[in-house]
Subunit: 261 residues, 2 copies
C-alpha cells in the first residue's frame, strides 16, 4: 500500500468535542486496517472556545456568525496539510453558517475540499435506504428553527418530519445541551437525556416516520442502535466518517453495512 | 474564564490511533466543563504510517528509529501552535527511542514541553498509591525487552515485576498486536485478547504484585476496571490526560479520583 500520497483528513473537532472524538473513532472503525501503520493521516483540531454556540446564533440570541471561526479552523487545518475536511456538527450546516464558511474558504483561494454533512446524508439515504421517503429528525432547537434539513434532503427525494409537540423539541434540546444531564456536559449522556430522545423517536414514529436521523452529532454518542421500533437509525457521523475515507483512501473503506468495530 | 491564553495541547495520536482516541476522550472526561466552549484546545495528530513499529525496533528486527518520526510530528504540532505535547505509547518511551526525540527537539531549539508518560506515572503512584511498592507490568514484548520501566519507576521507589512465564508475555503481546484478535486490529479487543490479559494479571499477582500498570496504551481500551482481584489498576493514559490538563489549565483539572465521565 502506498501511504504518503493519500490526502490528509482534517477534522474541526471542537463543536462539540465528544462528537469530534466519535467521528475520529468511526473513521478508524470504518477503515480496513490491521496494524497502526495502515490507518489514515488525520488532524483533529479541537478548539471549541473559538466557535460560538451555533444554536444561539440561529435563534437570534447571539450576533457572531460561527462560520467565521469554523472557516479559520478549516484554514489552519489546510495550513497543517489537510486536503479534505469536515465538521461533525449538524447545526453548523445551516445555510447562514455554512455559506459563510464557504465564502471565507473561496476568498482565501484555498483548495481544501470541505464535505457537507447533510448532503452526504442525503446521498447515503438514496444509496442504502431508497425506501425511506419520510424520515424523522432528532435535532437541536437551532436545527429545527433554521429549517435547512427539509430543504437539503428534499433535493434527494426525502421528506423530513420534525416533532410537532414543542415540549418534545425542548426535551431533545435539553438531552443535548442541559449543563447537568445533557450529552455535551456529561460526555456520554444520562437516563434523563435518553428518556427525552426516546420520547422524540416515539413522537416521530406516530407522525409517520419510516427512519430516524440522529440530526445532532451528540446524539449518536448516546444512541448506538442501528434500528429502534422497526425503524432504521441513520447516523450522519458514521456517514461523514465513510465519506472522508472515500475521499482519502477509497480502497480502504469497509463495505456497508459492516460491524462497526 | 479566560480561554485564549491557555497553552495548546498537542497529541501524537497515531501510535496507535485507538490509544490516541482514548487519550483525547480521557482529557475531555477529566476536564471541568459544562459546555463545548469550556473545553481545551487540542490538536490530535494521527499519522501512524510515518511511525515505524516501536517493538520491532527495540527487538532489533527493524533498523529505523521511530524517534525520528515522533520528533517530526512533535515539531509539526509545535508549528501548528502546540505548547505542550505527549505521545500515548509506552514503548516510545524506551530510552533508545525517547532520547532521540529529545535530541531532535533540542537541536531544533523548540520550546515545546514534551511530557514523559512513565515519569508521570511514577509521580502519580507516589501521590495516590504510596503503599504500592511492587507493581506488576502488563506490556508489549518491546517494553519488557527494553527494560526501561523498572529503571524509571525505581527512581520513584517502585519495584516493577514482569511475568516470568514467557508464554504469558507472548500472550499479552498477541492481545495487543495480533492482526486477527488483538486490540490494535479490532479497536476494542476480543474475548481471546482479554483472556491473555487476565492471565497476565493473575501471573503478576502470584509473583507478588500489589498493583497492576497497564503498560501499553492499547490495554486500557479493553481493561476499564479501576481494581481487579483487590489490586488497583493503574492507567498511564488517564495519568497522561491529567498531566496535560495540569500543564494547560490546572484550574480545570477534576479532583482524583473522580467518576471518569
Amino acid at each position: 500500500m502506498s501511504h504518503s500520497s493519500k490526502p490528509i483528513i482534517g477534522i474541526i473537532a471542537g463543536a462539540g468535542p465528544y462528537a469530534g472524538i466519535d467521528l475520529l473513532q468511526k473513521i478508524h472503525d470504518q477503515t480496513i486496517a490491521s496494524r497502526d501503520q495502515d490507518h489514515l493521516t488525520i488532524i483533529g483540531w479541537f478548539q471549541p472556545n473559538a466557535i460560538p454556540d451555533r444554536t444561539a446564533f440561529l435563534l437570534g440570541q447571539a450576533a457572531e456568525n460561527p462560520g467565521e471561526a469554523i472557516a479559520g479552523q478549516a484554514l489552519a487545518l489546510a495550513q497543517a496539510g489537510a486536503a479534505v475536511a469536515a465538521i461533525p456538527c449538524n447545526t453548523a450546516h445551516a445555510s447562514k453558517i455554512f455559506k459563510r464558511v464557504e465564502e471565507r474558504l473561496a476568498n482565501a483561494g484555498n483548495p481544501l475540499i470541505f464535505l457537507h454533512l447533510i448532503r452526504e446524508t442525503g446521498c447515503f439515504l438514496q444509496a442504502h435506504f431508497p425506501g425511506a421517503k419520510r424520515v424523522g429528525l432528532l435535532a437541536t432547537a437551532g436545527t429545527y428553527q433554521a429549517g435547512f434539513y427539509p430543504a437539503l434532503l428534499g433535493a434527494f427525494g426525502v421528506e423530513v418530519i420534525v416533532p410537532q409537540d414543542e415540549a418534545v423539541r425542548r426535551g431533545i434540546q435539553a438531552a443535548i445541551a442541559d449543563t447537568r444531564f445533557g450529552i455535551k456536559a456529561t460526555g456520554s449522556g444520562t437516563p434523563q437525556a435518553r428518556g427525552w430522545l426516546d420520547a422524540g423517536i416515539t413522537a416521530l414514529q406516530h407522525q409517520g416516520a419510516e427512519a430516524i436521523i440522529l440530526g445532532c452529532t451528540e446524539i449518536p454518542i448516546m444512541i448506538q442502535e442501528r434500528e429502534i421500533a422497526g425503524m432504521p437509525i441513520i447516523d450522519p457521523t458514521l456517514i461523514l466518517a465513510r465519506a472522508l475515507i472515500r475521499e482519502a483512501a477509497p480502497q480502504q473503506l469497509k463495505p456497508y453495512p459492516a460491524s462497526s468495530r
